[in-house]
Point group: C2
Chain length 212, copies 2
Amino acid sequence: MSLEIPEVVINRLPVYARALTELAQRGESVVSSQALGELLDVTPAQIRKDLSYFGRFGKQGRGYNVNGLLSTLREILGIDRQWRLCLVGVGRLGQAIAEYGGFGPQGFEIVAAFDANPELIGQEIGGSPVHPIEDLERYLHSHRVDIGIVAVPAPAAQSVVDKLVAGGIHAILNYAPITAHVPRDVVIRHIDPVLAMQSMTFYIKRGEPGGK
Amino acid sequence: MSLEIPEVVINRLPVYARALTELAQRGESVVSSQALGELLDVTPAQIRKDLSYFGRFGKQGRGYNVNGLLSTLREILGIDRQWRLCLVGVGRLGQAIAEYGGFGPQGFEIVAAFDANPELIGQEIGGSPVHPIEDLERYLHSHRVDIGIVAVPAPAAQSVVDKLVAGGIHAILNYAPITAHVPRDVVIRHIDPVLAMQSMTFYIKRGEPGGK
DNA sequence: GCCTGTGAAGGATTTCACAGCC
DNA sequence: GGCTGTGAAATCCTTCACAGGC
């Protein structure tokens, strides 16, 4: 009944969880797929179908219990626990990531940072010490780290990804502007504002010469 | 023949363009869909099909001319020109965005910044002056701005989006952790590393209790 | 009466496979 | 022989529509 849940579905669950968190804070105790859908610009049927991959969480005639569904989703996603991250690359981008306050409250803690620049070694960045990149693989073998963040320049990125994989990491958040290759048992997500903008320009370009 | 190109296709084109830029720099002059596909972890058929929405750019038996295809894609996407951005929110995140060096070389220039904090008004951030948020809509009506970047805290984000839309903006890059609502003729893209991590944890969680 | 859960239908996207050309 | 462009097939994903429970 459950084997092979589409990845698109998994990607939507955190969005549902975020909205439920908001509703819970507002003190709402019940929400229908209709109401949640309006909040998120998603059809009610899609929400119900997505949830149905995991079980039956609603009550006919009422909707879903906000807190109940929220903790179920948190458990399904695994965001009900603490996750340990390491950050590779402590240049401008890496520093911004280390100092970004949004990870901690969601259970994502940066426990170590790495860089190739000798001048940065030993410094504290966002509360964690910067180690030389040469120590990365050894560190990963002797400490628990769940997710790697790649924030190095493009030319170095694939080799950093390879080191993370060699160190046993199975999840990578990549900020470098490359398509990195990973084995099939490693998940990778790319954060790239430039690509996002480059796809938007296609749509706004119309405005100019002829079209709509 | 061309009306209604799937959005997934549009989202892949910038990735192709990035790879072609890389190939061009390496001095490659021709590339097959096979070779490009290996570089990008995409099937050759998908690349050919995607490109076929726009025309016939390849040569049988040879492949695609790297520079030719690159400039075609740049033109299709509209990334062959300069785009003017405004940044709303100049807190830590906003400052990191303003100082991020990756936009300029790709033709995206931040021309103005806005914030609600009076202490920041008048300062220069990443080379552009910070204006009071109250001036946003007026500014948009009197200056050309193509894309708005939202980097304010979640509770303020929807109202900023509304102001951008009211000011005539048709493309928004949103860094705030909310699902923002926009009219159908406005494109919006979300950058949210937390959501990206929260979908990865689903897959690595398996490792722990029982399954693979 | 309202709303879920879900088969079945419909639509969208990807992949196949091959004719045609270099 | 190698590779594109593309209909057709296959797969994947979304939406419909309704039985069933509250």
